[in-house]
């Protein structure tokens, strides 16, 4: 199976999630070995996912947890007859 670039692009997400079937995976890898354009697309997409998974990319506001539990305490005690 020989793939053109645009067909490889359609497989990038599946490739990153390791969900390609063996035949497709082999074809994509063969293409990537010689195609700088597709390798760059793959690499940049992977960089984005690394950045996304970094837990410092999305942070909690200061005091969030405290306010959340204070509100829950009010709700919980209110629904148990003030106890």
């Amino acid at each position: 199976m020989n793939l053109e670039c645009k067909h490889v692009w359609e497989q990038i997400s599946g490739y990153l999630d390791k969900q390609l079937d063996p035949e497709m995976l082999a074809a994509v890898e063969r293409h990537l070995e010689t195609c700088e354009v597709c390798s760059a697309i793959l690499d940049s997409t992977r960089n984005i996912l690394v950045l996304t998974a970094d837990e410092r990319t999305y942070e909690l506001p200061v005091g969030y947890s405290k306010r959340l539990h204070e509100r829950l305490t009010v709700v919980i005690s209110g629904e148990n007859g003030g106890g």
Partner: protein, 210 residues
């Protein structure tokens, strides 16, 4: 086989339902960030996200007896959080139309990645940069809603395909399609910033074409 954490969680849920309501605090503690970030990534507003997270947890407390333990507790919470986020987004949209979300039906739009010439591998330290994280959050915020939802659950919250499909009420196939499109749209939006994070070749043309 259930993990020890899952077993503890099931025991905690049973105790809360049996009347030890105060233990609800312990039950949700591991998921505070999950719920906030899910809502924030959808509504793009800190205050709204915090209010929404509180409402989600209150709703989870009030409806805990309807949790059957078929899904993971975290998936159940995410489902509530996602509904809360959608509700808030609708309200915000009624006030100010979000043109980017208009006309984004399946099959429309451009999901091809940006083709890079002069690409250099980016060292991990460069990805640590704050500006890049900010750009990423902005780009995620620009995704049409249905792609954003899938991206948030799969790539930010790292739910698996089945959990994501269950939380959004869509098929696994649709999760895959939307996730791929979301990633390609982000790649296109973020490539200019990724490129500037790569070590410079220092050439005149490179600077010229940035």
């Amino acid at each position: 086989m259930k993990t020890a954490a899952a077993t503890n969680e099931a025991a905690l849920i049973a105790r809360v339902l049996a009347g030890e309501d105060g233990l609800f605090h312990e039950l949700i503690r591991p998921y505070e960030k999950l719920v906030y970030v899910t809502i924030f990534a959808i509504v793009k507003n800190e205050t709204e996200a915090e209010d929404g997270a509180q409402e989600t947890m209150i709703s989870a407390y009030r409806n805990l007896k309807s949790f059957r333990g078929e899904a993971k507790f975290s998936t159940w919470l995410v489902t509530i959080a996602m509904n809360e986020a959608r509700k808030r987004l609708r309200k915000a949209k009624a006030a100010a139309e979000d043109s980017l979300d208009e006309g984004s039906e399946e099959g429309e739009g451009d999901y091809t990645p940006a083709v890079l010439t002069d690409w250099r591998e980016i060292p991990l330290e460069a990805l640590e940069r704050k500006e890049l994280k900010k750009k990423l959050r902005e780009a995620v915020g620009k995704l049409p809603e249905k792609y954003r939802e899938v991206f948030v659950l799969r790539d930010i919250e790292e739910l698996n395909q089945e959990e994501t499909a269950a939380a959004l009420g869509i098929t696994v196939t649709l999760v895959k399609v939307r996730l791929h499109r979301a990633r390609m749209m982000l790649q296109k939006m973020l490539v200019p910033y990724l490129k500037s994070a790569a070590p410079s070749r220092g050439g005149f043309f490179r600077r010229w074409f940035q």
